[in-house]
């Protein structure tokens, strides 16, 4: 992208995104990733309903803020500690659609777990995405620890960790922010607030409207951005990223996002969310809002849109075939990797 960015910089002086230092190619690529994540997401649900996968959990509605927050990151150098909704973030960080589908199908070469974990438990050593577990909240202290190591080892790495607003109620969330605040760690603490923890609404999760207010209690800035405003999400993320790079410490970022789907393939949100509300949140779909911005900016012509859609379809079809053709784990490997196989005493 680097080359292209330079090439097209000139003609985007006036636009909103240019004011933020984003080229036309940047924003178009951001749109591509949002659309890719959404299409992959749809595909995963289709495959699950078709019986090709036992379970799906994904992030429809969360893609905009995820792509925006990942954009300033150094994909090779920085760390990402995801959660199950981080489909778009993992794609931008460097996982391929096939990587994610290999997890969905639980195949031997699933880079996240070799088919050992449920779908949605992302991880990839090659692109510095830490392995995810299911217990909500445990990832926050991990991120603080990774960032501490980066500081002590002077690697210049920045760490980004994501969680939902329900996860902020966990003790680990508090302990991580407190620790990171004391040591001014280069860390972005993301909270993707979709106003529900499965069926539990925000008002039963916390007594405040925005979790960003808690930053002050840890000696760090707390900011909140509308997840449907992708450029605003980028702006706050970039600011936090620069702060971290400068050594000025962590930032707590809340992205207010719509949860467009049910919690997971085991949930039916119609049972606890009013119809009107479901319609209302659909208006906040970042794919629509960002697409509309790019149209206004004259960057996303119908032709261009179709082109991107076709490319995505091709890529996902290919990825599905690749994943589907991959072998299942060999049952004789079930006992492996309880411990490192080179044995105890030698590190």
């Amino acid at each position: 992208m680097g080359a292209m960015s330079a090439k097209t910089k000139a003609k985007t002086q006036e636009s909103e995104h240019a004011a933020l230092g984003l080229t036309d190619d940047d924003v178009l690529e951001m749109y591509y990733y949002i659309a890719l994540a959404r299409a992959l997401d749809d595909r995963m649900w289709v495959l699950q309903r078709a019986g090709k996968a036992m379970f799906v959990i994904s992030g429809p509605g969360h893609e905009g803020c995820q792509v925006a927050a990942m954009w300033p990151m150094d994909k090779k150098k920085d760390w990402f500690v995801p959660f199950y909704r981080s489909v778009a973030a993992c794609l931008v960080k460097g996982m391929s659609p096939a990587d994610l589908l290999l997890g969905l199908f639980a195949r031997a070469n699933d880079p996240s777990s070799g088919g050992r974990q449920m779908p949605g438990h992302y991880g990839h050593p090659g692109v510095k995405i830490l392995s995810t577990s299911s217990p909500v909240g445990t990832q926050y202290p991990h991120a603080a620890g990774i960032a501490y190591a980066s500081t002590l080892r002077k690697t210049g790495e920045v760490t980004m960790v994501a969680i939902g607003e329900g996860g902020t109620s966990q003790g680990d969330w508090h302990e991580a922010l407190n620790f990171a605040g004391v040591y001014k760690l280069p860390c972005l603490f993301i909270v993707e607030n979709n106003e529900y923890a499965i069926s539990v609404p925000l008002r039963k999760q916390m007594a405040v409207g925005s979790v960003a207010v808690r930053g002050a209690g840890y000696g760090m800035p707390g900011v909140s951005a509308d997840g449907s405003d992708v450029l605003e999400c980028y702006r706050v993320a970039k600011e936090a990223y620069d702060r971290a790079r400068r050594g000025d410490g962590p930032t707590l970022i809340e992205f207010r996002v719509p949860r467009l789907g049910s919690h997971s393939s085991d949930d039916q949100q119609e049972r606890y969310r009013p119809k009107e509300e479901l319609e209302r949140v659909r208006q906040r779909d970042p794919l629509k809002t960002f697409g509309a911005y790019l149209q206004r900016a004259g960057l996303l012509t119908d032709a261009r849109k179709q082109e991107i859609a076709d490319r995505i379809k091709r890529e996902i079809d290919q990825a599905t075939d690749v994943a589907d053709a991959s072998p299942e784990p060999d049952p004789t490997t079930g006992a492996r990797y309880v411990f490192a196989e080179r044995g105890a005493a030698d590190a």
Binding site: S199, E328, G334
Partner: protein, 327 residues
């Protein structure tokens, strides 16, 4: 008596307990509007309202800790952990606080809390939605641990747990929720916490199990009987405090013992049962005490073939029965 599913028996117990005692409240993640991810608390919110059916924040340590506080001030909370795998953040509150409150205060305070936890592997539940946690908690004095295997016991023991003056960890193997059916009286009744029960009389060997494993074991015993092996099957039901007598009586009769459990084998619950038999039934043993437990790996892997490799199937139980009988 009507036949109901295990999950229905659990749900009935909740309704009855709350109807008959205003001090009973239910708390946990998604227990309200959603009625619980497995439906155990279905219909409670509508009937008893938000203050007695609490959709808690996503924070297990405080689910336990708040329940403990409620229980010392006149309430009888039933606290649901959405999956047994997610009870771990509450380990300190349950072990250091609930289980010790009465002893440390020399009987001044007690914690009548029921901690419910759906445990065990079902299909595709993988590392973090399949755990057996009984070994961690049955080791803790001051805590009662039960794992009923029939709808009748599930309802009766849950009602007994709610009335118990001390904390009870109530384990429900999630595989049974929709698979296991049985006759259950419509009204209130209790099944005492403590006694184990012989589910199948036998003479050649004794197999001890609980929860879902009890059902796999009964099937295996059935097959074994066709091969002329007459296995006695004991449902432990209450894991702590353990009903030694029923166990020892059975071994005294059959002279052979096998313990079946789904949890990791090493230091799993079966270890205590085996050790008990080895010490107190030594003279009557004609064969080594066998344990059939899950492999010692960190969790049940997701991929179907790996899951099968991990799981304790009827075939594996039957093989163990044959081996023990042949000794």
């Amino acid at each position: 008596m009507p036949e109901v599913r295990y999950i229905d028996a659990i749900n009935q117990a909740h309704h009855l307990a709350m109807e008959h005692d205003d001090s009973v409240i239910v708390m946990g993640e998604d227990v309200g509007a959603k009625g619980g991810v497995f439906g155990a608390t279905m219909g409670l919110l509508e009937k008893f309202g938000e203050w007695r059916v609490i959709d808690t924040p996503l924070a297990e340590s405080s689910i336990a800790g708040v329940a403990i506080g409620m229980s010392v001030n006149g309430l009888r909370p039933i606290a649901e952990f959405q999956f047994a795998d997610f009870i771990h953040p509450a380990f300190n509150q349950i072990v250091s606080e609930a289980a010790r409150m009465r002893y440390r205060s020399n009987n001044a305070f007690g914690c009548p809390v029921v901690f419910r936890a759906p445990y065990g592997g079902s299909h595709g539940t993988a590392l973090y939605h399949s755990q057996s946690i009984e070994a961690f908690y049955a080791h803790v004095p001051g805590l009662k641990v039960v794992a009923p295997s029939t709808p009748y016991d599930a309802k009766g023991m849950l009602l007994a747990a709610v009335q118990d003056p001390d904390p009870v960890l109530f384990l429900e193997h999630k595989r049974m929720y929709r698979l296991v059916r049985g006759e259950v009286p419509g009204g209130e009744y209790t099944v005492p916490i403590g006694p184990a029960v012989v589910r199948r009389e036998g003479t050649d060997l004794s197999v001890f199990a609980y929860g879902w494993m009890l059902h796999e074991t009964l099937q295996a015993a059935e097959t074994a009987s066709k091969e002329g092996i007459n296995a006695e099957v004991v449902d432990l039901r209450t894991l702590a405090p353990l009903d030694k007598d029923t166990i020892l009586k059975s071994v005294a009769k059959t002279n052979r013992a096998l313990i079946v459990y789904e949890d990791n084998r090493f230091l799993g619950y079966g270890a205590e049962v085996a050790a008990l038999i080895a010490e107190e039934a030594f003279e009557s043993l004609d064969a080594p005490v066998l344990r059939l437990g899950g492999p010692d790996v960190p969790g049940v892997p997701f991929a179907k073939k790996l899951e099968e490799w991990f799981s304790i199937s009827q075939e594996k139980i039957l093989a163990a029965i044959r081996k023990l009988a042949a000794y």
